[in-house]
Symmetry: C2
Subunit: 238 residues, 2 copies
DNA sequence: CCATGACAGATAGTAACACTATCCATAGTG
DNA sequence: CACTATGGATAGTGTTACTATCTGTCATGG
């Protein structure tokens, strides 16, 4: 298979394929001549994975390249594959958060019983999220209307995390159980990557779908008279 | 407060603040002279929300502008705020998926009992995710090693969604229950936006933390001899 | 056997995005 | 009154993910 056929088979323009080759996202085909390379079905499959990671998973090309490099390297352990996939999903770059949240994060993880490496990217992300959410100061808006701010919201935010963590705890058991134990390495590794990167998107999408349903259902429950009900009752424009 | 003070108070450079003003992310301050404007605490608060949506929530400036516009418009119903927030999170642009997944998506939603508007962006996202995941063809790798592909994986993928949907169902109840019913509109609306955008990130981060913990725990359970166990046992390099 | 088109690989160009810097006339400040 | 800060506009910058062009080579049908 030459690059034109690969492009047609995968739906990716050949110029883009060439670029992926240069970025190390896709292994080069076997050269049968200085300007003739041969690609196989594994290239088509790899391209599908690449596009899924980029378009659906939202990874950058560089992050996808790091992930894909671990796929082909049998010296990388499965734990490390998970770590690389998590690193690719991490939002907080190497911009260190100031560390003010770290004790809270540690306390939360200890409370959940989650044992996590100290340099885990998700840990940084959690710290950043906590800082952002608690800094939003929901109560500040009410307090501007008269009263003083009721309380530091950080503990409230942390407590509010439990329903999320409970749901995640429940999910994790199924996820571990569905690992294709005993399959060849490449199958397991790709399952782990897909399960990590794409299923995180899936979780978000399912949540939005459920939110739409339950939120509309909840709106119908609320009696008129509440502040919230009044803004909900307004007929939707357009 | 003038722009320099606002910049110092928020940590956002004044050139960036000016840009947010032009993009409609931030309302202009009150002009006391042709070149003197006055900003208040609500601008500091708004800037914090903007930075949270952009940096933590991962929204584009345009998407954040759409979300923020709904915050200040009392003619927008709460349901619409949810819709706008979901639209801002949607990954599938207006690039219509080919529709091949739609019956599957409808069947899934019906099975879950989730009532969702037909034009919901999350519905498109789900279709795209299903297409991507089922197109990856995990089994294809094994089949390349000898056997024919065991089965069309789409139904398998759909069935595998149930644990995720179960977890989400459980979570949705808590989320609806924690809505600050009866609070002033701006408090409720900001709660909804934060709950939608930032808590989706939170869910992903918590999942990664839990995965790290449970995956390591699972690895320690597996007996040597399995394919998977062998790749797990390898001492981590570095 | 050779014109024609596809190809590999490299380099340069483009479009979108999120800022960032500069400019100008005016405002406040010591 | 010198001087810095300001509001508003416009232009420039760096990054990312491609996309187009160029050069020489290859293969293949007439």
């Amino acid at each position: 298979m030459r690059i034109g056929e690969l492009a047609r088979a995968s739906g990716v323009p050949s110029a883009t394929i060439k670029w992926y080759l240069r970025q190390g996202l896709l292994p080069r085909g076997e050269l049968s001549a200085p300007n003739q390379a041969d690609y196989g079905v594994e290239h088509v499959r790899r391209l599908r994975l690449i596009r899924a990671l980029l378009e659906v998973g939202g990874l950058s090309v560089a992050a996808a390249a790091r992930v894909i490099a671990t796929l082909d390297d049998p010296s990388v352990s499965l734990s490390d594959v998970v770590g690389v996939a998590h690193g690719a999903l991490a939002r907080a770059g190497d911009v260190a958060t100031d560390g003010a949240m770290d004790p809270l994060v540690d306390a939360f993880l200890a409370r959940r019983g989650w044992v996590v490496r100290p340099d885990s990217p998700a840990r940084q992300d959690l710290a950043q999220l906590l800082a952002a959410v608690s800094g939003l100061d929901l109560s500040g808006m009410a307090s501007a209307a008269g009263k003083p701010p009721p309380a530091p919201s950080l503990e409230q935010v942390l407590d509010g995390l439990d329903p999320y963590a409970d749901a995640i705890d429940q999910l994790a058991a199924s996820e571990i159980a569905s690992l294709p134990i005993g399959a060849p390495r490449d199958v397991v590794v790709q399952s782990v990557v897909v399960g990590t990167v794409l299923m995180e998107q899936m979780l978000g999408v399912l949540r939005r779908l459920a939110q739409e349903h339950y939120f509309e259902a909840a709106v119908r429950m609320i009696k008129p008279g509440d502040d919230i009900a009044r803004t909900m009752e307004r007929p939707r424009p357009r």
